[in-house]
């Protein structure tokens, strides 16, 4: 079965401090966090960003289980990165396999990148776990609005995202149903070589496109019938307002950023230049 779990099942609807934050605040904090994570160039910085992430996760009431499950898709890429670093960084050898030489510096470097990736994925997935898709697009529209004078179609982008988010589950469900309907007629989506497999997708894709186009038509009609004519002069049902909680979160973020910058200046990179 096609499972949309990764995309749709993302939002984790419990009430918490993090859930209650303004989506704009959460988006900005996530962006700042990402930058800071890359500014930090040693393990002391990780202590700071790590504590910040753990605090945020605790406050969000999202079970660790869910976050760790979210790491599963990147296990491969992470191991790959770590192994690459382990063998490609010059330095004192730990062991050698043929022409490959694992080094201590590579080990440290690989660990460093790995930890960074883990913190990055865990923290950023917190954004979509604690913010409903609707809130997210509302927040994004607001953040992009100042750029509309420079020609960024803020409202249109947000509307497209809203529609896409609305229809992804529907289309996945439909794909699942059509696939099963064709399997009931003996279709086989799983075996065969590349060519056979892509051919076997025709009975799935044709009906799926037909229905997607029909839905798009219907939706356009329904929007027009309700006098939709773009973003100009449109007001919101849910107005976004910054609260004290949001300022508090911003404050914490600034403190964290400052500390990371301090560790960078004070301690320098994890593998000091010229040390190897």
């Amino acid at each position: 079965m096609i499972s949309g779990g990764a995309i749709i099942g993302q939002y984790y609807p419990v009430g918490s401090f993090v859930h209650s934050l303004d989506p704009r605040a959460k988006i900005l904090i996530s962006v700042i966090f990402m930058i800071v994570l890359f500014v930090g160039n040693n393990f002391y910085a990780f202590a700071v960003t790590g504590v910040f992430a753990v605090l945020a996760i605790t406050l969000s009431k999202i079970p660790w289980k869910v976050l760790i499950r979210g790491l599963r898709p990147i296990v491969f890429i992470m191991s790959f990165t770590i192994i690459l670093h382990l063998f490609l960084t010059p330095g004192q050898a730990i062991f050698e396999i043929g022409p490959l030489r694992a080094t201590w510096a590579g080990l440290v470097q690989g660990m460093f990148i790995g930890v960074r990736l883990i913190i990055l994925i865990m923290f950023t997935s917190l954004l979509t776990l604690t913010t409903s898709p609707i809130e997210l697009t509302d927040g994004l529209e607001d953040i992009l609005k100042p750029f509309s004078r420079m020609g960024v179609p803020a409202h249109e982008i947000a509307m497209m995202m809203t529609i896409a988010l609305r229809f992804i589950p529907t289309l996945l469900e439909e794909a699942d149903r059509i696939m099963k309907a064709q399997m009931a007629r003996g279709a086989d989506f799983e075996s065969g070589n590349m060519v056979q497999r892509s051919k076997s997708l025709v009975p799935l894709l044709v009906p799926l496109f037909v229905s997607a186009f029909r839905r798009a038509d219907d939706l356009a009609m329904a929007m027009e019938a309700r006098c939709y004519r773009g973003g100009e002069g449109r007001t919101r049902m849910r107005e976004l307002n910054l609260s004290t909680n949001d300022y508090f979160a911003f404050g914490l973020t600034i403190v964290m950023s400052a500390l990371v910058v301090y560790t960078r200046v004070r301690f320098g990179p994890v593998i000091p230049r010229g040390a190897v």
């Binding site: 009931a184 007629r185 037909v210």
Partner: protein, 288 residues
């Protein structure tokens, strides 16, 4: 081709926050040649249940036995199971994709490896069974009317020559004429000897056709028995958000007013006969 279901439970998205147990601890047995109506309110688990019968869904727990063999045990070919147990999905017209009606109906038999000649024969036969005009075969399925495409889709399943035919709400969204025609087709199909499971939430259709009724409510099988027996429990059906057949409602109302009529009638004709009998007993028959 007896089908037996034992302690069947299915949970969607198990282990996530949005997990739903759609059906719970279902048990029944279907024998050759039966005509079964599966009814239940929307969301009661009807579609989930029938997708287990030909191995499209895997049980979370419990077993499905076809011809006494667990279809999920090692070495069982699900493709073969799906050939023996044909399942017509709800709104099957949404699954057509070929350029011509012929090709679309032939999709199933081709997948199952029949020779070109056999395929031709089976497509013709299937068209006949659903009363589809031979001339339509070379047309594009996207040009046909709603009722016609639906018959194309049903023919697509019949062309694989199933021994059991399951139809998920085959009349949903059709006009009265299209609906009557489809139901007549289904009745004829049953008379050719295959077992039929008709999923519906239209009690009138089911009451007219089916011999045995299974009722699902919130994922549980709450009634399973002869149509007469099940439909005579009008109050019970109402309590689980099902509308009993019109004739049953009428008889219940008459009984409430003290008429001595049976409440297990299934067709308009039977109801008429009951009412005439009661009128005669009351001595007003001369008026008719």
């Amino acid at each position: 081709m007896p089908i037996e279901v034992r302690n069947l439970t299915h949970t969607y998205m198990q282990g996530t926050i949005s997990e739903v147990t759609a059906i719970f601890d279902i048990n029944f047995r279907i024998d050759d040649g039966e005509f079964i109506g599966l009814i239940g309110a929307t969301g009661s688990g009807k579609s989930t249940l029938i997708q287990h019968l030909n191995g499209l869904l895997k049980p979370s727990s419990g077993t499905v036995l076809v011809d006494g063999v667990d279809i999920w045990s090692k070495g069982v070919s699900l493709k073969k199971v799906r050939q023996k147990i044909g399942l017509v999905f709800q709104y099957p017209e949404q699954q057509v994709f070929e350029e011509t009606v012929y090709d679309d109906i032939a999709f199933g038999p081709k997948n199952l490896g029949y020779s070109q000649k056999e395929v031709e024969g089976q497509v013709e036969e299937a068209c006949e069974l659903v009363g589809l005009d031979r001339e339509l075969l070379s047309r594009s399925p996207f040009e046909l009317s709603g009722g016609q495409v639906r018959r194309v889709a049903i023919a697509g399943i019949l062309a694989i020559k199933p021994k059991v035919l399951i139809l998920d709400e085959p009349t949903a969204g059709l006009d009265p004429r299209g609906r009557r025609e489809i139901l007549d087709n289904i009745k004829n199909l049953h008379e050719t000897g295959i077992s039929v499971i008709l999923v519906s939430h239209n009690m009138d259709d089911v009451a007219r056709l089916c011999e045995r009724i299974m009722v699902l409510d919130k994922g549980k099988l709450v009634a399973d028995g002869p149509a007469r027996e099940v439909f005579s429990q009008g109050r019970f059906l109402e309590s689980i958000d099902l509308k009993p057949p019109d004739v049953t409602v009428l008889m219940e109302k008459l009984r409430d007013r003290g008429w001595a009529v049976r409440n297990d009638v299934l067709t308009v004709e039977e109801a008429c006969a009951e009412i005439v009998k009661e009128l005669q007993r009351r001595g007003v028959a001369g008026a008719i």
